[in-house]
Assembly symmetry: C2
Homo-oligomer: 461 residues x 2
Amino acid sequence: MDHKIEIRQYIADHQERYLEDLKDWLRIPSVSALPEHRDDMYRAADYAAKLLQRIGLEQVEVIPTPGHPLVYAEWLKAPGKPTVLFYGHYDVQPADPIELWKTPPFEPTIQNNNLYCRGVSDDKGQTMLVIKALETLLQVDGKLPVNVKVLIEGEEEIGSPSIGAYVKEHAERLACDTVFVCDSPMERADTPTIITGLRGMAYTEIEVRGAQRDLHSGLFGGVAPNPLHAIALIIAKLKDENDHIHIPGLYDKLQAPSDFDREFWDQDPLNLAEGFKQEMGLNALSGEPEYPPLERIGGRPSFDVHGIVGGFVDPGAKTVIPGVVTAKISMRLPPALNSKEVFALLEKAVKSYAPPNVEVTVRYLAGAEGMSVAQNSSSMTAAVIALKETFGNDPIFVRSGGTLPVAVIFQEVLNAPVVLTGFALPDDNLHAPNEKYSLDNFFKGIYTIARFLEERAIIAD
Amino acid sequence: MDHKIEIRQYIADHQERYLEDLKDWLRIPSVSALPEHRDDMYRAADYAAKLLQRIGLEQVEVIPTPGHPLVYAEWLKAPGKPTVLFYGHYDVQPADPIELWKTPPFEPTIQNNNLYCRGVSDDKGQTMLVIKALETLLQVDGKLPVNVKVLIEGEEEIGSPSIGAYVKEHAERLACDTVFVCDSPMERADTPTIITGLRGMAYTEIEVRGAQRDLHSGLFGGVAPNPLHAIALIIAKLKDENDHIHIPGLYDKLQAPSDFDREFWDQDPLNLAEGFKQEMGLNALSGEPEYPPLERIGGRPSFDVHGIVGGFVDPGAKTVIPGVVTAKISMRLPPALNSKEVFALLEKAVKSYAPPNVEVTVRYLAGAEGMSVAQNSSSMTAAVIALKETFGNDPIFVRSGGTLPVAVIFQEVLNAPVVLTGFALPDDNLHAPNEKYSLDNFFKGIYTIARFLEERAIIAD
C-alpha cells in the first residue's frame, strides 16, 4: 500500500480513540490564570506526559517551574537526521463569561462536525494533533523519520513567565534544527497559513491620582481633580481620532516593509479585510486610514485600552469622584520596536500629557518582543509541501498581529528557524465563549504533521 | 428656672438615653441601594415610627411606597401657630469599602467625643436630634410652641424616587409654613451654615459600542474600533484641560449671580478654599481658573466621570478589546439650568463628538433640579437666631454644590420656604469609610432645633 494512503488509513481507523484522548484532556479545566485551578494544571500536564509515554516517546518528564509545570519528551533514534522540537501549551483561557456558552465550557461537545470546548483550538487540539501524528507514524512505521523533541508549557495564556529560563538553562537538551509551533489559525478554511512575523507587546498600567480620598461630586464637583477625566485627556492625546499614536519617537524606528509584505498588504489577495469586518459585525474597519488594513495589523504598532479601574461601576447612579484610577493599556509592536524602549517613550509622553493637579505613574506590567521568520528554511519548505498536499492550496505567508514570547525565545536561544502554523479557523472563538475546533482540521492536521516530518527528513539543510 | 436653662439641663440630664436611642437606630444597616437590606429598611422605619409615637407625636404611620417606606408623624395642638414640617432620612450609603473602616461600620463607636458609624452624620444623627428636640420640649413644657409634622424617607441616597409622588398626592396633609431640612454640614466647626441654593443634577450613561463581540488585541489591534478609546476621545472633548465644558448651549442660560453671592464667592471670608485643599490633600484646586473656587461649586455647572464599565479590570494583563463600554457621567447644575434640557444638549454634543465606526447611546439615568432659597423668610430669621445663640457666631449663607431633589419638591408642591441647615462637619466622611458625627454637635443640634421652634412661634410671617 502507498505509504501516504497507509497513514491516512491509520488515522481514519483510529479517529474515535484519537478524539477520546483529546476530550479527556479538554475535560481538565487547566486555566492558568486562576489559582483555584492549580491542581488541574498538574493533572493536565500529567495527562500529556502519560500519553507521550504511551505512544513511545522517551525521557518523558513533568518539569516543575515557579509557575505551572512543563512537559518534555523526546525520540532521538534517527541518527544523522534533523531534530524537530514541537511546542504546544496545555493551559487555557478562563471560561468567563460562562453564561454566553451554549454548551458546558469544559464538557467537549460535538455539533456540526465541530468540537466545542474551552482550549480545543487554543491549544489542546493543536497540541494533541502533533502527538497523534507522532503516534500514527510510530504505529505505521515503528519509527519516526526525524528526531523529535516535545515541549509543552502551561503558562502561555499568562505570558509564558517560566519557560524562558528553562529554555536558556537547558539549551543543550532542547537543541534542534527546527522549532515547530502549532498554535495559530488559518486565515481562511481553504488556505493554510504560515506566520512570518509576530508583533511584540508592552502592557502597561497608567495610574492617575487626584485627591487623597474619594469625594462627593456635589460638594467638590468644580474644584476637585477627577482622575477619570484626566485619564481620558491623556488617552485622547496618546491616540487621536485617526488612530495615530502620539508618542514622540515611536514611529522613528519602524523599518520599511519587505517587497513581499508590501505587495501582500496592498493587494490583500484573499480579501482578509472583508473577513475582519464580518467577524466584527461592522461596515468599516478602524485604524490609520493611509495604511492598508493588513499593514495596520502586521506592520504598524497598535495602542489599545483594555480597561479602566476605579470609581463606581455597578448598576445605578453614584456620584463619587474617585481618588485614584488605573488604565490598562497595551501596545503591539512590530519587530523593530523594542518593548522596553517603547515603554520608556510612552512613560515620557504620558507624563507630558498629564493635566495639572494629578499625579501619574506608569507601570510596565508585561512585555515581549516581536520577531520575523525567514521564509526559505528547509523546515519552511517541508511545511509548505505538507500543507499544500493536505489542503490543495499553497499556504500564504502572513505577518500576525499577535505576540508569542516563547517563539522569540526559541529563535534566539536555540538559534533554530521557527515554523509557526496551525489549523484553527478565524471563527473558532479563541479566548471567547463557545471556542470550537473543526474535526476535519484536527484529522487533517495530524496528517499534515506526519507528512511534514517525512518531508523534513529528506530536504537538505 | 430660666426656660433656656431648663431646656439645656433636660438635654444634659438625658444625654445617655438620647445617645442610646441613636445608637440602636444606627445598628440597623438601612442601606437603601442594596436589595439584601430590604428588611432592614422596614426595621429602621419602624424604629423611627415607634420613637415618634413614644415621645408623644400623633398619626404616626409607616407608609409603604414602591420603594422603601416613609415615616410620618404630627403634633398639631398649637392653634393659630405656624406649622413646621421636618424632613430627614433613615437610609444610609453602602459601607464599601469595608476594609477601610477602623471600627465596624454598623456598630456605633465613640472615640474622641465623636460617634463613628455609617449614617451617623448622613442623616440618622441629624434626624434623631430633631426628634430629641421635640421630645425635650414635650417633656419640659408638655407641648410644642408650634405645630409640627415629621416626614422621614428611606430613599434619599438613591435619588428619592418615591417621595415626590407622595408629597404631591398628600399636599394637604403635609401643608405647612416652613420645611426644615436637617441634612447638611457646617462649613466650619465654629460657623453654622444655612444653604441658600442647591445644584440640580443630570446623571447619564454614555454607551459606546464597537465590534459585536470582545476581540483579541493581537489579531485585531489596528483595525478594530476600541470603545474605551472612543469614550476617552468623547470625554476629552466634553471637558477640556481647563475644566471648561464644551456642550454647545450649556452656559447660555446661566444667570448672573446676586451681589450677595458674588461678594461671598470673591472674598471667601472664611477661606473655605483652603479647607477644600486640606480635605483633598492637594496643593491646588482644580476647576475653571477664571472663576473663584466657591463659584465653581455654587454657581457653575460641573462635569464628572464616575466610572467606566467594560473590558478587563482585574489584576494582571489581559489583551481584550471590549465590544461595548459605558461611562457614568453626571453634571451638577445651577438652578437656572434644567436637568432634562441639559441632558438633551449633552446627548447632542456626545453624538457629534463620537469618532467614526462606533455606535453611541446616551441614557438619562437620574436627574433633579436645583433651587434657590430666599434669605428673608420668618423661618430663616428664627433659624439665624437659634444658630447664633448656640454657636456664638452668625451663620453664613452659602450656595451648596450638592443636590437635594426633595427640597425642590417641598418648595414647589407645598409652596413653603425651606430652611436647609445641619450640624455635620466637613471632615465627617459623608459617603466614605469612618463616617462620624460630633457628639457636641448632636447635643447642640437638639438645643438649636428646640430654640428654633420657640423663635418661629413668636416671629410674625
